[in-house]
């Protein structure tokens, strides 16, 4: 590490002393970067997915279709803004803002580069940092859930409500896996501040391997492979992207939580989703891929990690991460809901816990036996990681055995690749169900429901009888008052 590089590396003391106009420039810069990245990501996604599906993709607006998302944004802004009759108006209005604002906030702690000179002021290329830097991102993503859940709830419609419930469950579960995957990074970096985590990945340890001296890898993606894999999977769930896009599964829920939204409100949800993608990609680059530091062959050049060059390395890493998101979307079908939940709770969370245990043990051993971090990572961490990954592979092969056997038989020409006498039962019930009094009984898994015609007795002080539920409202209460919808039975 040359002293030149060390001088450029911001520490926590470098933050909080900026002139007000530098802060303003940084805020506007972060905003502009996020909006531009969103515009870029939409076109990029459509082009890449099109190429994966052997299409051309958008090619009308601008050179090679590159301004397509700008046109889309303008179109969205000029659409009619619809407020559903049954919507809860304040919450319906608030929800898109709640989704978009934390998405912007989270990017404020992402380090984009080293200390640079802006109009003569030396300042780190990062809006702010705190000892709890990464927790700010977690808090913002936790707040972002509210936008989606409340948007679905406030729409006053069935499918959005289902979408919002799914997203609540999904984000709560996958946030746990995401938080646990980051813990190992904290242990290694010894800090939760993003700039110090980048600094911790600056230099690999000298590793002597059978007398061969070389600099070991410094990225946490290589030192902590299991954490990296868990993080990548968890953030796909966290950002509602395919194959985990169950809250907006269009074949089941129309549009999911944003079915009733239109115009700029919908645009805000759209913006929030893509900004979240950019933010988690940037966080992945920061935590696991060395942040703004140049990757290995480039880092031999002395000037690679100073001045404005790191901005380029950083955005290349972010775009690479975005490409993985798009690749997943173009490749994988959507998971079934039970598979998705089981995967989150029974695979990701336990694996993350075991991995944290292993990492903590490695740290202790390294300190007691006086080994360097790189050696321990190489001699203990890599075998443990291979063991964990191999275990997961074996487990997944074991659970998918039936499918594999069926696929082999199908490939061999069998017409009924599943068992001749299927264990499954007749198709799912008559399509037009007869109307039934009451809900499902308890034996079918329904909740015990109190009598639905329960009414609060009028206060004795009120002289006249005042109806509690006004008649004539469209659907003011959740229950259907009076008329039962007649369903004809054609069974």
């Amino acid at each position: 590490m040359t002293p030149f590089v060390a001088a450029d590396q911001p520490t926590l003391e470098d933050f909080g002393h900026d002139v007000w106009w530098i802060v303003l420039i940084k805020i506007v810069g972060v905003f502009a970067v996020l909006v531009l990245m969103t515009l870029f990501a939409i076109v990029f996604e459509r082009k890449v997915v099109a190429r994966m599906q052997q299409r051309i993709g958008p090619n009308r607006v601008g050179p090679r279709g590159s301004l397509q998302s700008l046109a889309d944004g303008l179109k969205l802004a000029f659409k009619e803004d619809i407020m559903p009759a049954l919507a809860d108006k304040p919450v319906y209005f608030l929800a898109p803002c709640l989704a978009a604002v934390p998405a912007f906030l989270a990017f404020s702690v992402i380090p984009l580069g080293p200390i640079v000179s802006i109009f003569g002021q030396r300042t780190p290329l990062q809006l702010t940092d705190a000892p709890i830097g990464v927790l700010v991102v977690l808090a913002c993503s936790a707040m972002g859930v509210y936008g989606i859940v409340l948007g679905g709830w406030a729409s006053g419609s069935t499918y959005p409500l289902l979408g919002s419930l799914r997203s609540a469950a999904q984000m709560v579960s996958y946030e746990i896996a995401m938080g646990l995957s980051i813990v190992a990074v904290f242990l290694y970096a010894g800090s939760m501040s993003t700039s110090e985590i980048v600094a911790a990945q600056a230099d690999g340890n000298r590793v002597s391997f059978f007398g061969l001296e070389f600099t070991g890898p410094s990225w946490f993606a290589i030192l902590l492979p299991v954490s990296f894999v868990i993080y990548v999977i968890a953030v796909v769930g966290e950002t509602n992207r395919a194959p985990f896009d169950l809250p907006e599964a269009e074949s089941e829920l129309v549009g999911g939580f944003h079915t009733e939204y239109s115009s700029l409100k919908f645009a805000l949800f759209f913006l929030a989703e893509y900004i979240n993608m950019v933010t988690v990609s940037a966080l992945a680059a920061t935590l696991f891929l060395g942040g703004w530091r140049a990757p290995w062959p480039i880092s031999i050049w002395d000037g690679a990690n100073s001045g404005w060059w790191p901005l380029l390395w950083f955005f290349l890493k972010v775009v690479a991460a975005l490409f993985v998101f798009i690749w997943l979307r173009g490749t994988l079908p959507r998971l079934r809901y039970d598979q998705f939940m089981r995967f989150g709770w029974k695979v990701l969370v336990p694996t993350a816990l075991v991995w944290i245990l292993a990492v903590a043990t490695m740290r202790t051993v390294a300190r007691e036996a006086d080994l360097s971090t790189g050696e321990v990572a190489l001699f203990v961490g890599v075998p443990v990681a291979l063991l964990v990954l191999a275990g997961l592979l074996v487990a997944s092969r074991a659970t998918n055995r039936a499918t594999r056997v069926a696929a082999t038989r199908a490939a061999a020409g069998s017409i009924h690749p599943t068992e001749a006498e299927p264990e499954v039962l007749p198709p799912v019930g008559p399509r037009r169900r007869p109307a039934r009094a009451g809900g499902p009984s308890r034996a079918e898994g329904g909740f015990p429901v109190p009598p639905m015609d329960l009414r609060v007795p009028p206060s004795p002080r009120l002289g006249r009888r005042e109806p509690v539920a006004p008649d004539g409202a469209v659907v003011s209460t959740g229950r259907r008052s009076g008329a039962v919808v007649e369903e004809d039975v054609d069974v």
């Binding site: 000892p131 859930v145 946030e175 799912v428 109307a435 009120l462």
Partner: protein
């Protein structure tokens, strides 16, 4: 007495966020919709989180936001499950004088607690955060040291308590079912793929004069698509323009290219 110097920024934050936090608390008590109550509570919790950060406890602030966001989300789900999507409190007083009594008692309790805290902390000397957590260690390291040395037992016992509560809730909410009485999503999915139609059913038709779910979709030959009938609604015929049928009226598809006319005469272009 205390001689604490409160910075300008801190004072500004306090006088802006203090009323907001209070408004959140009042709104939580006063709003009639349970979900709005939960939202007001979020407001208060966020304001408190910022207060912690301002008072140089950034870890506490972040944890406050992360943990309470999740907690209130669960509260929100409880509201949805237990009282339904759109139900608000009845304003009818079932116990006479209950509201007045509650207000009086509430104000009295607040006064009692406030006075008690004021009296208890009246003459306490102010040492400051730096003196407590010692020198140059950051707040996070100070918390970690206390949590994992001095208060380790309390920390572990609390976590054991929480796990017990979670397991207890799961045991209480668990419904024992005979195997086979309720099909899992896996079985349902396999059953669906053994039928003739594994994919979703077609949506309703979209017409120039109607787009309700009751309007069924049309098959290519103009018949109604039975699969698109909505459950529980009588399918409605939508009046349509007379449809051109037959090759004689439709012409060849090539003739229709580039025109808006679905059935152009041959050689019209």
């Amino acid at each position: 007495m205390n001689d604490v110097a409160i910075g300008t920024g801190e004072a500004v934050v306090f006088w802006i966020l203090g009323p907001i936090a209070l408004a959140g608390a009042l709104g939580m008590v006063l709003s009639r919709n349970a979900v709005h109550s939960a939202l007001w509570l979020v407001n208060t919790m966020l304001a408190l989180g910022v207060f912690y950060v301002v008072q140089e406890a950034p870890f506490l602030g972040a944890v406050q936001i992360i943990v309470y966001t999740g907690a209130i989300m669960i509260l929100f789900l409880f509201v949805l499950m237990l009282v339904g999507r759109d139900s608000s409190d009845s304003v009818v007083e079932t116990l006479r004088g209950q509201r007045v009594a509650a207000i009086v008692l509430g104000i009295g309790f607040a006064g009692l607690v406030g006075a008690g805290i004021a009296r208890a902390t009246q003459d306490l000397p102010v040492t400051g955060l730096a003196a407590v957590q010692g020198g140059d260690t950051s707040n996070i390291q100070a918390i970690a040291r206390l949590l994992f040395t001095r208060y380790l037992l309390a920390f572990e016992v609390t976590s054991a308590l929480l796990i017990t509560a979670a397991v207890g809730a799961m045991v209480l909410a668990h419904i024992e079912r005979d195997p086979g009485t309720r099909r899992t999503q896996r079985e349902l999915s396999r059953a669906r793929f053994l039928t003739d139609r594994p994919q979703t059913l077609p949506g309703p038709g979209v017409y120039a004069r109607g787009n309700s779910v009751a309007a069924p979709a049309l098959l290519p030959d103009g018949r109604l698509a039975e699969d698109s009938f909505a459950t529980g609604i009588e399918p409605q015929e939508v009046e349509q323009m007379p449809r051109p049928t037959g090759r004689a009226q439709l012409g060849t598809p090539d003739d229709a290219l580039g025109t808006l006319d679905p059935a152009p005469e041959r050689g019209q272009r």
